[in-house]
Amino acid sequence: MTDLIGSVLVLLGAIFHFSAGLGMLRMPDAYTRMQAGTKASTLGNTLVLTGLAIHHPGWSFKLLIIVYFVLITNPISSHALARAAHAIRLPMAGDAGIDALRDVQQRAGNGT
């Protein structure tokens, strides 16, 4: 039974990883591609490692550390990538003229 639950979790994680890869191919611009690649793979990694922890309870502590590492690094790296893309003014697909970061920077520029 536990084997089955673990395998189902690993399979779910693999599906999320697949959707991350699909998003990298199909999304229209850098920002959406990046969020597809990092968000979906964060959940995918967590699910795969949880499934492994159910398979091998002795590994759970090490797997927990890996999950912690992924949960920190994935959002930080996507944040850094998005800011870098924004800083070189990479265009957004279907730009609606809304850019909160630019507005904040302009306000900070005017304030000082």
Partner: protein, 233 residues
């Protein structure tokens, strides 16, 4: 037309070559005689649970020393080519004309959490090289990845190149000295039996392999850090 034909011919002939490889492949049912003797000898003679590290740091340690020397030459060459127009020492970092934007607060805070984590992981990899997968080279590369994260998060951060150079040279000299001690005390150059073998599978075991692993990790980490620092614009 001729171009397309030649491409088709090239693809088909590559396909034939690889097809013959795939068809001729047969999985080995038992290890080769050399591998078998290594698998038998490493735990018996050297007391190392990880056969690969045992081979790398004793039977083929001279080869490893050569690899480290190659890495050293890479670091020296990169320094020679890219280290030309560096600002002189003593100039404060905020005076330097550094065009890099400061990284955001999230990246800097994340770096504060991650760099200790990465360092601990590197130490774990290096210290457990004789028991599980790992060793000096891998751990040194992980150390350098921590330094790379520091360089990315703090564009003004300047590693102390002099300190790195001295540490690296000291580690290399100690590695060679351990090898010479093997010539005198034990059976040959870089023999790990200059220290007691200890209990098989324990943390302090396998003679000098953990010590050599640590020296190798320090040396590789310093060298790769120097290379990364040199590649910064």
């Amino acid at each position: 037309m001729i171009r397309r034909l030649s491409i088709v011919i090239a693809v088909v002939s590559f396909g034939l070559v690889f097809a013959s490889l795939v068809i001729g492949y047969a999985e080995r049912q038992s290890p080769r005689p050399l591998a078998e003797s290594y698998i038998r000898l490493v735990p018996q003679e050297l007391g190392a649970a990880n056969v690969v590290t045992g081979i790398l740091l004793t039977y083929r340690a001279f080869d490893t020393l050569g690899e480290v020397a190659v890495l050293f030459m890479v670091a020296a060459g990169v320094g020679l080519v890219l280290g030309g127009e560096r600002p002189s020492r003593g100039v404060p970092s905020d005076v330097r004309p550094d065009g890099a934007r400061p990284s955001s607060e999230i990246v800097q805070t994340g770096t504060q959490i991650l760099v200790p984590l990465i360092s601990i992981f590197a130490a774990y990899i290096i210290m457990n090289g004789h028991l599980t997968a790992g060793g000096g080279f891998q751990g040194g590369a992980v150390i350098a990845s921590g330094v790379l994260l520091m360089l990315l998060a703090h564009p003004q951060y300047q590693p102390d190149l002099e300190f790195l150079g001295i540490t690296e040279s000291a580690a290399g000299a100690l590695f060679v000295l351990a090898g010479i001690a093997g010539l005198i005390v034990a059976d040959g150059f870089l023999d790990n039996r200059i220290l007691p073998l200890g209990q098989f599978g324990a943390f302090f075991s396998a003679g000098a392999i953990p010590v050599l692993s640590v020296l190798l990790g320090i040396k590789v980490g310093c060298e790769l850090s120097v290379v990364l620092e040199r590649f910064r614009a």
